[in-house]
């Protein structure tokens, strides 16, 4: 998912695709760094992962892989990815990629996750970086349009993750991770999901407002955001935990389709 977002960022940054080889090598560098971040996350959380249903099949809690091997693997691919970005792409992209690696693997996983119910809101910033990384790899500047894509993912993350957290709240409570449904209750979390979805609705229209995208995107965004809002309002009035799971699953389709719409809009207008 992160790579799709980065890829869309790259494609949106230029008028026509100049070199597929260059896009591939940038994507490889970003992919290696985010894989490194994910591996570090799994090393740090190996004990917590073992007692949660969603994650207990991961290789570290299963004992198939030792923490030492996983750490060395993470270090090697992280350094390799950063070197690719430095030599073949640009320093700005390398710096931003390392910053988001540190933001996710260290600041979010090690401190925020266990410190505050706002963990995923703040940590979401690192997760929202990929379209910016893709964009800078092509343009070598921090473009306001790229930041708008970051904003969409940033606002999308809380309702996406909290829907899952409602579904898994007992497991989070058992591991004493202060997720919002654990600390502030399910009802409050559902209200937050609705509120964030409303903000997301507004933010998702911004690419049209600032003339970055056209009618195709506007129609798609309105339809998708309305559907997301429908799911979140339904979740608010529902007492069935399965509705939380449905909202979570829809949120994944949502972000995928929003980025697809951006891309389609971009290339149809060009052609």
């Amino acid at each position: 998912m992160m790579l799709i977002c980065a890829f869309v960022g790259m494609l949106l940054a230029e008028q026509t695709v100049t070199s597929y080889g260059y896009l591939f090598i940038s994507l490889a560098g970003i992919a290696l760094c985010s894989a490194s971040a994910a591996a570090i996350n799994q090393v740090v959380d190996r004990k917590t992962d073992a007692s949660m249903k969603r994650t207990d099949q991961r290789p570290l809690p299963q004992g198939e892989l030792s923490a030492t091997h996983a750490s060395i693997f993470a270090l090697v691919i992280g350094v390799f990815g950063a070197l690719i970005l430095y030599y073949y792409v640009n320093t700005l992209t390398m710096t931003l990629t390392i910053a988001s690696l540190i933001g996710y693997a260290f600041i979010y996983t090690i401190y925020l996750k266990r410190a505050t119910p706002q963990n995923i809101v703040i940590g979401g910033l690192a997760g929202a970086a990929p379209p910016l990384l893709g964009w800078t790899s092509v343009s070598n500047t921090i473009d306001p349009y790229a930041l708008l894509l970051v904003l969409i993912i940033f606002v999308w993350t809380p309702p996406h993750f909290w829907a899952l957290a409602i579904y898994r709240k007992d497991e989070y409570a058992k591991e004493s991770i202060p997720m919002l449904p654990v600390t502030h209750g399910v009802v409050f979390t559902k209200l937050q999901i609705v509120l964030y979805t409303i903000i997301l609705f507004i933010v998702s229209i911004l690419p049209y407002v600032v003339l970055m995208s056209g009618m195709i995107y506007l129609v798609s965004a309105v339809l998708l955001s309305s559907a997301f809002l429908y799911y979140s309002i339904k979740l608010y009035y529902s007492s069935d935990d399965e509705d939380a799971m449905r909202t979570f699953q829809f949120s994944i389709y949502y972000i995928f389709l929003i980025f697809l719409a951006l891309l389609l809009d971009h290339f149809i207008i060009l052609s």
């Binding site: 090393v43 740090v44 923490a67 030492t68 750490s71 540190i102 260290f106 090690i110 401190y111 266990r114």
Partner: protein, 324 residues
Amino acid sequence: MNNIRNLSFIGICMAFVVIALGAWTRLVDAGLGCPDWPGCYGFIVFPTNEAEIALAESRYPMFPYDINKAIPEVVHRYFAAALGLLAIFLVYLSFKSTNDKAIRGWASFLLVFICCQGLFGYLTVSLKLLPIIVTAHLFGGFTTLTLFYFIYLKSRNFQIFNQINISNLRVIAGIAFVVLIFQIFLGVWTSTNYASLACADFPTCQGSYLPDMDFRSGFNLNQEVGPNYLYGLLDNPARVAIHYSHRISALLVTLIFLVLMSRLWFSDAAPLASTLGMLLLTQITLGIINVVYVLPLYVAIAHNLVAACLLLATFTVNYLAWKK
């Protein structure tokens, strides 16, 4: 116990502020902004209007008055004095609201230490910025901060620290602590001898990996001060020797910290490893920026404060490794 915890936390914050103000005073060359102590040109604050300035200059004709240098010095003094009052209150609380003898002892020691630190502030002025005194004054500041932090750790039972067992890392943690203190000494020595800009390039120094250096006069602790030590007196090779030592030693610190961090990482103390790592990365970056961008004021102050954070983080590792 709670009020001791809160007050020592305020003490930590205040100590950071005082250290930052001290660094500011040093970096704007305002250490002799007031030629006397504890007043400033005989005033309780600093002279502001023309009549006062005329009076000030008639009192100290050898020291032309510069308000931009008097302000940092006076502000630093008053914040430091406020920290002293806070320490007095901490001792009072430690005898009133706890029976913990260790906390009483450390709070009392802290108070005595702050008084000595005030004395060193006086010596800094009266001995005209003698490097060894200024260096000791900064170490006193870092020690004061660490003492507040130590009392804070003792008065607060951190749950996350109870799960960490790193008593097998005592040796490497101890080595890291000693090497870090040595590196801080070199950093302060660089600053007090005005050697921060002795090498204007990075990673080379004056275009070479082995520049012309004079260690004997660079590290002569009994040096002469002359009329005063403002802007330094050492010749260039001596300053290069000091500056370059700080860089080489940074390499040594990094290597030892990498060992410590990997040991912590695999001892289920990832938060400690990652804190050290991020502080070290920040500190190295700030150091390089200091050289390449000709010592920007806020970066130089930040380099000082992050050094203090690194000291506290390494202290924490040792605290956890050595506690029973």
